[in-house]
Amino acid sequence: MHELAITQSMLDLVLEQAGKVEAKEVRKIDLVIGEMSGFVEDCVQFYFDFLSKGTIAEGAALSFTMIPTRARCRSCGKLFELKQFDWTCPYCQGNSLEITSGKELFVESIEVE
């Protein structure tokens, strides 16, 4: 459900940036989304198609770069990718972990005409 609010914020941000260069059309939007933030691509796409109607971003292609959740073990210091619901270090079985990536949520770039 929060994809609606997120997509609206994303669209506002894109239109603001496109407005700064007086773009006539937004062709592509590159998004970087961390797995942990819980955003579903299809859902963002669905809301985007709906919200962008009648704006210069209508029809823009959305490109998603999904960032897996990675953590550093506080016991052995090793870095690894977290499997869902498995909060254990695969090297030393420690379960005090520091999340190092997977919370990203930003617009990397846009392509405008």
Binding site: H2, I6, S9, D12, L13, Q17, S37, G38, W87, V107
Partner: protein
């Protein structure tokens, strides 16, 4: 033409949150964002806190709900100022909704403001409101596996209140394993096991709150 943006999608929310924070700071009010799944005890914790601290400090409440004003009515009976936000379907509060609500809260008369978020363990984690402390309430009937299922929520919390501990004899819930799991995700988090029903542990929680206020 390609334009590098590199901007947080929630940048607008964060900016409004920063303004809310400044506003609260200028009025000397400590704001606490209460988050949990539905029924974990957000309203009960507010009620238990008001009962214990009434007459000592001045408390106000912003109640966020998808619809209805049931919680606001419950809390209002305690004689504290309450402002209701109905999100109209949105599953979380955002900084703008709180900003609007703040205009209707008598901030100069308050020292502590509870912001009761919408019952949800996912979305509220992404939307900062300008609060000073994020408090997550996790109750025993929800199960002790929640930190692994909702790591982001446990990661961002300053405090986890484990509510309904009076039900421990009736439930399979490993409090130690639960606390270890939370600390594994979030090293700095404070944990308060309490029961809003019996009052057990509420004093430790309110002492912590008072301590936070005296530090400001």
């Amino acid at each position: 033409m390609e334009i590098k943006v590199l901007k947080d999608i929630l940048d607008a929310n964060k900016q409004i949150a920063a303004r809310n924070r400044q506003w609260l700071d200028s009025e000397g009010v400590l704001a606490v964002n209460l988050m949990s799944s539905p029924g974990a005890g957000k309203t009960s914790l507010i009620m238990a806190t008001i009962k214990r601290l009434k007459g000592k400090i001045k408390i106000g409440v912003i109640e966020g709900d998808v619809s209805s004003s049931l919680d606001a009515e419950t809390v209002g009976k305690e004689g504290v100022p309450v402002v209701q936000i109905n999100t109209g379907g949105e599953c979380h509060l955002d900084a703008n909704m709180v900003s609007n609500a703040l205009s209707n809260v008598p901030l100069p008369d308050l020292e502590l403001l509870f912001i009761e978020n919408v019952g949800n363990l996912i979305c509220p984690a992404s939307f900062t409101l300008g609060e000073h402390k994020k408090v997550l309430i996790s109750s025993l009937p929800e199960g002790d596996d929640k930190p692994f299922k909702y790591p982001l929520m446990f990661d961002i919390a300053d405090v986890v209140v484990i509510n309904k501990i009076d039900l421990l004899p009736y439930l399979k819930f490993d409090t130690d394993a639960f606390s270890r799991a939370i600390k594994g995700i979030n090293k700095k988090v404070k944990i308060f096991p309490i029961s809003c029903a019996t009052g057990q542990g509420v004093q430790e929680w309110t002492s912590w709150l008072l301590n936070q206020m005296s530090r400001r």
